[in-house]
């Protein structure tokens, strides 16, 4: 049985004439668009406890070099989707493929070697380890990569190189976020999953995180970012997903989504109109 995407009970946009937000609600469109995707999820059903599904047939894909943002209301399953992709929760139905290879249900440490990096929202550093040791843990499975990757990461975040011997537990939230991103980048992933990287940071630091994310993406890493700060996220994204009740309600370019009246009304708030 196919999932009934875009059925009458879920929000629809009226701007159906353009290749706008509405197009993403059609499974056929997903099928066509995701043909050459780097990473894709098809009709994923997953949750934390048996019988209570958070994701209800979620479709998703990211192309090589793309920066994809996932927004949506609280409880929509944004973080859950990332965790399902990264093998941190059990997927009860559906498939997740990486370059055509089925990776559904594979463990996190296997995915790391296959080029998937993940930065959790909280507790994303090893507090009693130094910055350098945190980055070393990032290449645990390939210690020889350390030197080269360390140069790449400290090139991106110079502060990490200067303070390499400092314990990560003594860093501020923003600094920890850099260590966390740096650690995930050490394995030179082809796709990086970021779970609300700007959460809990000051506006200035949030801005820095978005700039850095764009920078990482420009360096050739595909990025999937889940964000609460929807407006800012859509500004830097190539493409965005709006998740609602465990399904993707819309997908479109970041710009189209930020201008979509229905998305504004439901998820961005009226302020965005101004």
């Amino acid at each position: 049985m196919t999932t009934q995407q875009g059925s009458d009970d879920r929000p629809r946009t009226d701007s159906g004439t353009e290749a706008g937000a509405d197009s993403g609600t059609d499974r056929g469109v997903h099928e066509r668009a995701a043909g050459n995707a780097l990473l894709r999820a098809d009709e994923v059903i997953a949750g934390y406890v048996p019988g209570v599904n958070i994701l209800n047939g979620c479709d998703f894909y990211v192309d090589d070099g793309e920066l994809v943002g996932i927004i949506g209301p609280n409880g929509a399953g944004k973080s859950t989707l990332l965790k399902a992709i990264f093998g941190l929760i059990k997927v009860s139905s559906g498939t997740i493929t990486l370059r055509g290879e089925d990776i559904t249900g594979q463990k996190a440490n296997q995915l790391v070697t296959k080029g998937v990096g993940f930065v959790p929202q909280t507790n994303n550093v090893f507090p009693s380890l130094t910055i350098e040791e945190n980055l070393q843990m990032g290449v645990f499975q390939a210690p020889k990569k350390f030197k080269q990757s360390f140069e790449f990461v400290t090139g991106l975040f110079p502060a990490l190189g200067d303070r390499r011997a400092q314990r990560a537990g003594s860093l501020s939230g923003g600094e920890r976020q850099m260590v966390a991103m740096g650690r995930a980048l050490m394995m030179e992933p082809s796709v990086l999953l970021l779970d609300e990287p700007s959460a809990g940071l000051s506006p200035a630091l949030q801005d820095e995180v978005f700039v850095r994310t764009r920078q990482i993406n420009r360096a050739g890493v595909s990025v999937i970012m889940v964000e609460q700060n929807a407006r800012r996220c859509l500004q830097i994204c190539d493409r965005g997903y709006v998740l609602d009740q465990g399904r993707n309600a819309y997908t479109a370019s970041g710009k189209d989504l930020s201008n979509d009246p229905k998305v504004i009304e439901l998820y961005l708030g009226t302020l965005a109109k101004a």
Binding site: F140, P143, G173
Partner: protein
């Protein structure tokens, strides 16, 4: 975090009280008696005094005993109470006198089932009175030895707590197993019959013991704690399981090893070697050297090696460690194997220092917990520092407090230090936000 530590500590302590309660009450019901040996100090030797008369008076008892040819005398008093024991100075042979002629009568309390020893000192004192400083030096050396042995065991306990969150009450039994297996293997008195096996050289036996301890550690994780973890057993439930395992092992060892205390034949009655005011047996010096070398090796491994760093990473954040590509289960397995071997080594060294019995490890469990908590829960270096502090304190404090209270003193200092530094001596307060 701090709150979690406090809760863990509170549960740990209350559970410990339960275990102590369960462990007590192994009394044997026999009649009460008062006995003693009368020996005269003469030129450095103790000569038994025969024929001396000693009178015991008390509730319903007025009996006089005469010492036999070994100098021994006994009066069965039959019930608890306070008795007056008087030696008849006229009955002493010629040339034998009480050291203190005024102290010819002593009041002696006797509790239920007690065989109470009473001694009268005869002749000139042979004891060389040591200065307080010499005593302090001697006790410090013994305390250091004790602290190093606790450290060996506590580092494993701390690593297991750090990586899995388990408060392992059966860690004491790992220490006991080390001591007892080494005795079995070295003497050949195995609990199962192995025809033609007559024991081996002690060092070989120790090596075999450590290998077996590694296997026991592996089995602990592979057969019990690993499956419990995968099923999502809570930490409190797991702690209760460890208490059960502790009791099971302790009484299994009581059955197999018996309740008596034994010593390794190779190290029985070694002559002391003096270094300044300190007198320890050669085995003690070697034990301390081994403990220091092993602890330094553990510290190096934790700080510098890839696996050691991964172990600290798993202690910090298992989920993130897994997401970084670290095989968390593999790290925990290694920690169990290494922790059990360290506990086994501690058991062997403790057995050399103070003899072996079926609860040798259980007796230091509380001190291990104190050391781990004192140093900062889950930090291996904290456990090391905490152990030295506890070992030294327990031993040196006997200078000023009665020996029976020495463990109480260690726990007192634990409470005081935690009041001042809730995160422990080496524990670091984490920055929030």
């Amino acid at each position: 975090m701090r709150r979690r530590v406090a809760v863990a500590l509170a549960t740990m302590m209350s559970a410990l009280v339960c275990v102590l309660g369960l462990g007590a009450g192994v009394a044997h019901a026999e009649g009460e008696s008062i006995f003693g040996f009368l020996r005269n100090a003469k030129g450095g030797d103790l000569v038994p005094v025969e024929g001396a008369k000693i009178t015991v008076k008390g509730p319903g008892v007025n009996e006089t005993a005469t010492t036999d040819d070994t100098g021994r005398w006994t009066v069965e008093v039959g019930k608890p109470g306070t008795y007056t024991v008087t030696i008849d100075q006229k009955s002493l042979p010629k040339g034998v006198t009480l050291r203190n002629p005024d102290a010819d009568s002593l009041k002696v309390p006797v509790v239920e089932s007690q065989d109470k020893p009473v001694l009268f000192a005869l002749g000139k004192s042979t004891r060389v009175i040591q200065s307080k400083w010499a005593q302090a030096a001697q006790l410090s050396a013994e305390g250091l030895r004790f602290g190093l042995i606790i450290a060996l065991a506590a580092v494993g306990l701390s690593l297991i707590f750090g990586t899995t969150g388990l408060t392992n009450f059966s860690h004491g039994e790992l220490v006991t197993l080390g001591a007892i297996i080494a005795w079995w293997v070295s003497t050949g008195n195995l609990p199962l019959s192995l025809p033609g096996y007559g024991g081996v050289n002690f060092l070989v036996a120790a090596a075999i013991t450590l290998a077996i301890m590694g296997l026991i550690g592996w089995a602990n994780d592979a057969r019990l704690w690993g499956p419990l973890r995968r099923r999502g057993t809570g930490l409190i439930a797991a702690m209760i399981v460890s208490i059960g395992l502790s009791l099971l092992l302790r009484y299994l060892l009581l059955y197999l090893f018996s309740g008596s205390s034994r010593a390794y034949p190779a190290y029985r009655g070694q002559k002391g070697v003096d270094i300044g005011p300190i007198t320890l047996s050669p085995a003690d010096y070697i034990s301390m050297a081994i403990a220091i070398v092993v602890l330094m090796a553990v510290a190096y491994a934790l700080l510098r090696t890839r696996l050691g760093k991964a172990t600290r990473a798993v202690s910090d954040n298992p989920a993130l460690a897994s997401a970084s590509g670290i095989d968390v289960d593999g790290v925990i397995r290694t920690v169990w194997i290494a922790g059990s071997m360290l506990a086994g080594l501690a058991g062997i060294l403790l057995g050399i220092a103070q003899g072996i019995n079926f609860q040798i490890g259980f007796q230091i469990l509380l001190l291990m917990f104190a050391a781990v908590t004192l140093g900062g829960l889950g930090t291996a270096f904290g456990a090391l520092v905490g152990s030295i502090v506890v070992g030294m304190f327990v031993t040196v404090s006997t200078l000023v407090i009665p020996a029976e209270l020495k463990n109480v003193g260690a726990l007192g200092i634990l409470i005081i230090i935690l009041l001042v530094r809730p995160q422990g001596i080496l524990g670091r307060a984490e920055r929030v936000g």
